[in-house]
């Protein structure tokens, strides 16, 4: 792991990986959307609106997954002082906020026909909203210092503290009796979902993961280049 923490090494590998991840992301999402919209059955209770699931559920998984990644990157930044981990955490925050926003918006669109309301203050919805606030707080804190190093450290601390929210979101549907339905997939017995619906769901999830890797690489490369430009300008003016 430490071998890849070298920015030059990272850029080299990332540039080679990026075309693959981005094209596979596109392929997976397109196939997932095709199967989800045209080639999967409507739900016997929910009708056609169930198709929102193919965006909503993978996006929700991503919102938690990205926060966990961000917390892990922040921890490795605080422990080993790898600047690349800091850059990764900084880049992950807006991506995670975007996926969380997608989750909340598609959830509202799905809730309107199913529950008859855009929004309810149940445990799952509220805790995801708090997750969204945590992402925004991270982004506000990381840029609030004149010394970027301090911003990174403070925001890394916040990311770690905010991690308490992740298990709360995950288990909120089990701990509290909520309007939001409990998990159908990650259960100890067989998943409670038909294979014709599971295929597009997993394809979309894979597509989103690859999309995340692609955007992350692009963002991290951009920050690395920005840092180099800054350093060169400092050299010139100094």
């Amino acid at each position: 792991m430490h071998k890849f923490a070298n920015p030059a090494q990272f850029t080299k590998i990332a540039s080679r990986v990026l075309p693959w991840t981005s094209s596979f992301a596109a392929v997976c999402s397109l196939f997932g959307l095709y199967f989800g919209i045209f080639d999967s059955p409507a739900d016997y209770q929910q009708g056609e609106t169930v198709r929102i699931m193919y965006v909503h559920v993978p996006a929700a998984w991503m919102s938690l997954f990205i926060y966990s990644l961000m917390a892990a990157a922040s921890a490795s930044f605080l422990i080993w002082k790898h600047s690349l981990a800091d850059i990764a955490a900084r880049s992950l925050a807006p991506i995670g906020a975007a996926f969380t926003a997608i989750t909340l918006i598609t959830g509202a669109l799905w809730g309107q026909p199913m529950w008859g309301t855009w929004w309810v203050w149940d445990a799952r919805l509220t805790s995801v909203l708090v997750l969204f606030f945590l992402y925004l707080g991270y982004m506000a804190l990381v840029n609030a210092f004149d010394d970027p190093e301090k911003g990174s450290k403070a925001a890394a601390g916040l990311a770690l503290i905010g991690f308490v929210n992740v298990p709360i979101i995950k288990f909120s549907v089990d701990w509290w009796n909520t309007l939001h339905q409990p998990a159908s997939l990650s259960r100890l017995d067989a998943p409670a979902i038909d294979i014709s619906m599971l295929t597009p769901l997993l394809l979309m999830a894979l597509g989103f993961k690859l999309l995340l890797i692609s955007i992350l690489i692009i963002k991290m490369r951009t920050i690395l280049i920005e840092k180099r430009i800054e350093a060169k300008q400092l050299l010139k003016s100094g």
Partner: protein, 221 residues
């Protein structure tokens, strides 16, 4: 223990010398509560229904106002660096500073809250619950807020930032407190919410000073 008390005494003297700052927070709390009857209408039954929520929301907001100052003056004049350098555990010093913060903001708010509850026509059965939730909840805010105060130390706009960071994290305190107050108004069992508040206080009194001290060591060197 002697040094701990010495720090508490020093900070209390500092607050006493600039007593204005402590009054301002209390005054803000009173004014903020006053706005609600004017905003949502003076109907006593409506106010009774919302009284617990109003008082708690205003208590959270007033705490946010004062939290960014917990370490600020010590940070500015360099005495925070000295505290970090001493052999005395920084965690205990942090605990002392959070205690002083609670004593000078949370406790006065607790003392005045029954008066405001009367003005909001709170159900008589809820007064004791209000005081219990305040007694358990406001120290937790000071402890969790200490972490936030350490995180925003030295940033621009630290006062607003701390609200952005800490308010989402102290939502459980608001939920359990108001749930207990409303339940007591309807004559229902409150012990589960109060126990959860107590658990939050115990967890944060162990975890928060440690997290705050780690943050302070990390940020200022």
């Amino acid at each position: 223990m002697k040094k701990f008390l010495a720090l508490v005494q020093r900070d209390l003297i500092l607050v006493y010398r600039s007593a204005n700052d402590a009054w301002v927070v209390l005054f803000f709390f009173v004014i903020a509560v006053t706005l609600f009857p004017l905003g949502i209408g003076p109907d006593p039954s409506v106010l009774q229904q919302f009284s617990g929520g109003i008082i708690w929301i205003c208590a959270l907001l007033s705490a946010m106002l004062s939290l960014d100052g917990v370490f600020q003056s010590d940070f500015d004049d360099g005495s925070l660096d000295q505290m970090i350098l001493t052999s005395y555990p920084l965690e205990l010093l942090v605990l002392g500073k959070c205690f002083v913060h609670w004593l000078t903001t949370g406790f006065p708010i607790l003392l005045i809250s029954p008066v405001l509850a009367t003005m909001l026509n709170m159900n008589l059965d809820s007064y004791s619950t209000l005081l219990i939730t305040m007694l358990l909840g406001t120290p937790t805010i000071s402890l969790m807020g200490g972490v936030g105060a350490a995180l925003v130390l030295g940033s621009r706009l630290s006062g607003v930032l701390i609200s952005l960071i800490i308010l989402p994290l102290i939502i459980p305190i608001l939920i359990f407190s108001v749930a207990a107050i409303n339940a007591s108004g309807e004559g229902m069992e409150i012990s589960s919410a109060v126990k959860l508040l107590g658990a939050l206080l115990i967890i944060s009194s162990v975890f928060c000073p440690w997290a705050t001290a780690a943050t302070l060591r990390n940020l200022t060197y």
